[in-house]
Amino acid sequence: MILALATILTVVVGLPPGDSLLRPDLAADPEEGPAVIVRHRPAQPLVAVRLSVPARAPAGAVSLLQELARAPFETGAAALGARATLARTPTHAIYSVVGPAEVYPEMVALLRRAVGPPDLSGVRLVPARHAADRALAAERDTPEPLVRHRLRQVLLPELPRAGAAATLTAGDVTRVWRRFFIPERMTAVVVGPMPPEEALAPFRGWQRPPEPSGVRRPPVAASADPAPQVVRPWIGLAYRTRAEPAVLAVTAALLARHLSLLALRSCTAEFWWNGERRALVIIASAEPPAEAAADSAAAAIPLAERLRAGLAEVAAALTPASVAIARRGLMHDMFVAARTPQGLAELIGDFHDRTGAADGAQEFLSDLVRVDARDVHRVLVSLDEVAPVVVEVRP
């Protein structure tokens, strides 16, 4: 009877072959309640649950909703011998809990309360506003996160402005909750030892919140970028691309390795991926100008130029072997990250949030296996032909 409430799209039971280590065993989309993706891991009596809520609301409002839920979520989990964590991506609010499998229903009940109606009593709202704004400021009060933040504003303009929590009223918070915290739009990833069908049961029958009253959107209060202390120049370069994510991942890995040889103070190459929007992003910092001038002739070349030259240099040095090494490194990193229930839940959930596919992580892994030097070369050449988005933070 209960099972009938769920529309079981997929059930794959049994031990995975070597090429499906990240593939879920079951993906279900109940009529009432979050979609549920289950990976059966029978050997450990530990279960991890990651619930993601697509919330394209101002980060201040989402952050405030999470802070309002934090204390009961964390203390409730601790009483069960479990651990609760809250996180936020530009597109989703993430609620995670990991603990003994025997208290799985209680853990899901905690999640349900955490994304349920917020407690807006003054005693909670005031400190939660402060905590939310502190968390938002922490994302921009050092140079590197600030570079990321500014790049994100340019690359993903569809995302709402961050906003601030300080001026949000109880009414604003309620409207955001009613609009975005709809169970049918949420996705839970469960990794644990219980049979997949048992994992579904606690997610059934979650009620929708009432419709938001009125049409007023929550105000996006001005939240000026903090002024971080900057002692050396930072730069971010972002190349928009439509290349396949797996190819971009290998390209970023090769580029990161190459740029690490430039003797910069710090340098990362990574790929950003939100649905169809993708970018290869380089973030670096160099010595302050006075020290750099004395250091070497190479340092006299502007940092942006040195980083841009990296694309051509990697393309010129590309070999099937170097691509294979980068590809294997990424695969191994995924296997190692997925070795704990919470790590695997995070991996499956994160790929699902980006792709909408329950087996997005496994598909990415399968695509990764097929990436070769020609794919990477094509991407590097195409990126070298376009002007990147550049963001600088100077002392």
């Binding site: 280590l21 993906a27 979609a35 050997a43 479990a82 090494i325 695969m331 191994h332 087996d359």
Partner: protein, 418 residues
């Protein structure tokens, strides 16, 4: 949501039966090796515990085992990295411990490579130099930290100033800097031997292949690993004066060879909950509980960082809690809630395969047998907790802080104990 395949009732029934079987037949081992096949995992944990801690070292070679182990890791590191594997080393008075994380597709090659490096090939001077660089920095930091000072003071209170058991477990910077590649090779040849080791592999492995691999490199005999034990000592007390604004308190409650280790872990968890930092205890800044083992038992060690004027009260709270735990059984409901939290704490600590592998290898090393942690925890009772607390001896203790009545001062040279 996208489709990922189809299922049959037979497959479902088979998987359910397999799950039931796995739960009903927990792994056990009596030898020196444990293999836990955990299907559906993505990485393998490998742990090797060697009887080669600083309890075996002379003063002039203090830290040699740690340095040698790091040299093994440095020698293997580039080739392990190519296989996506990582290795790390830890040490104490009685053990040198290797912990490896191996991706599922490459675990066998990586494990073979590690054992070859450990048991077959010289590590070479380059690896020793890299190892020295890796080991020296943290040792120097420990030697110049209050954490290192309180640990050293407690060790002297427990074993006496001249005992090798009182030396820092990872050696001294002075000796580490002087030890050469020849010393390291000698240590590896004479101490890093299969007969002195226990090992465990945990993860999605073929049990037969894992067994064959371990038996090829390690002894699976039932001969005990002879773990060294210190001379019997009684609880002493050392006070160290430093220009600190907080006071460090350390208490080591000794237990003997037959102690109930899992019950002692539960007691340690109870103590940490009762005296750890919380809004209700603003005078406590940090707390840690460790279980240290050697061949004749070990000690339950409690560290507290407190406001200076509350240090004595904090230590008394710990003593009183242990006394109360020994004198009376906890109320059933209170114990059930404690056990629930402890079960989660243990399972979370063992969430990664390398943690479960190390837990298994250490159990074999000290107890000569292995039972899965979930089973050990499930068997805990109120009586066992009481008996474990009752079996603890008089604690040795150390205190590090400002002189009584002082608010700061100059740093006293190490060793100028009160």
């Amino acid at each position: 949501m996208r489709s990922t395949g189809a299922a049959t009732a037979a497959q479902l029934a088979a998987a359910t039966a397999l799950f039931a079987t796995l739960l009903a037949t927990p792994a056990r081992s009596q030898g020196r090796l444990v293999i836990l096949d955990e299907p559906a995992g993505t990485a393998v944990g490998l742990a090797v515990v060697i009887n080669a801690g600083n309890a075996w070292e002379t003063a002039a070679e203090s830290g040699l085992g740690r340095l040698a182990a790091q040299a093994v890791v440095e020698r293997a590191r580039p080739r392990l990295a190519a296989l996506g594997a990582t290795a790390s080393v830890a040490c104490d008075a009685t053990t040198v411990r290797f912990s490896l994380v191996l991706p599922a597709p490459t675990w066998q090659s990586a494990a073979e490579l590690f054992f070859e490096t450990l048991f077959e090939y010289p590590v070479g001077a380059d690896a020793v130099a890299r190892a020295r660089a890796a080991v020296l920095e943290p040792v120097r930091m420990e030697e110049h930290s209050f954490t290192g000072d309180i640990r050293a003071a407690l060790a002297r209170a427990r074993f006496g100033r001249s005992s090798r058991w009182a030396r820092p477990p990872c050696g001294r910077a002075e000796t580490l800097a002087a030890l050469g590649a020849d010393d390291v090779e000698r240590m590896i040849r004479t101490r890093f031997l299969p007969t002195r080791a226990t090992a465990a592999i945990v993860g999605p492995v073929d049990t037969a292949a894992a067994g064959a691999l371990l038996r090829r490199w390690l002894s699976d005999s039932d001969l005990p690993v002879l773990v060294p034990a210190p001379d019997p000592t009684s609880g002493g007390h050392i006070r160290v004066e430093r220009a600190t604004v907080t006071t460090w308190v350390a208490l080591a409650f000794p237990f003997d060879r037959d102690a109930d280790i899992e019950a002692l872990r539960l007691l340690g968890f109870r103590i940490r909950e009762a005296v750890g930092p919380s809004p209700a205890r603003p005078e406590i800044f940090d707390a840690a509980v460790e279980l240290e083992r050697h061949g004749d038992g070990g000690a339950l060690i409690v560290y507290l960082v407190t406001a200076p004027d509350r240090a004595r009260d904090a230590a008394d709270t710990v003593r009183e809690l242990i006394h109360r735990s020994a004198a009376e059984r906890m109320p059933a409901a209170e114990f059930d809630a404690l056990l629930q939290r402890y079960r989660g704490h243990r399972l979370l600590a063992l969430a990664a395969p390398e943690a479960r592998a190390m837990d298994a290898a250490l159990e074999l090393f000290f107890d000569g047998a292995f039972h899965p942690a979930a089973e050990r925890v499930a068997d805990l009772t109120r009586s066992r907790l009481r008996h474990a607390a009752d079996a603890l001896g008089t604690p040795a203790s150390a205190v590090l802080g400002p002189p009584p009545g002082a608010r700061g001062g100059t740093r006293t040279p190490p060793g100028a104990d009160g």
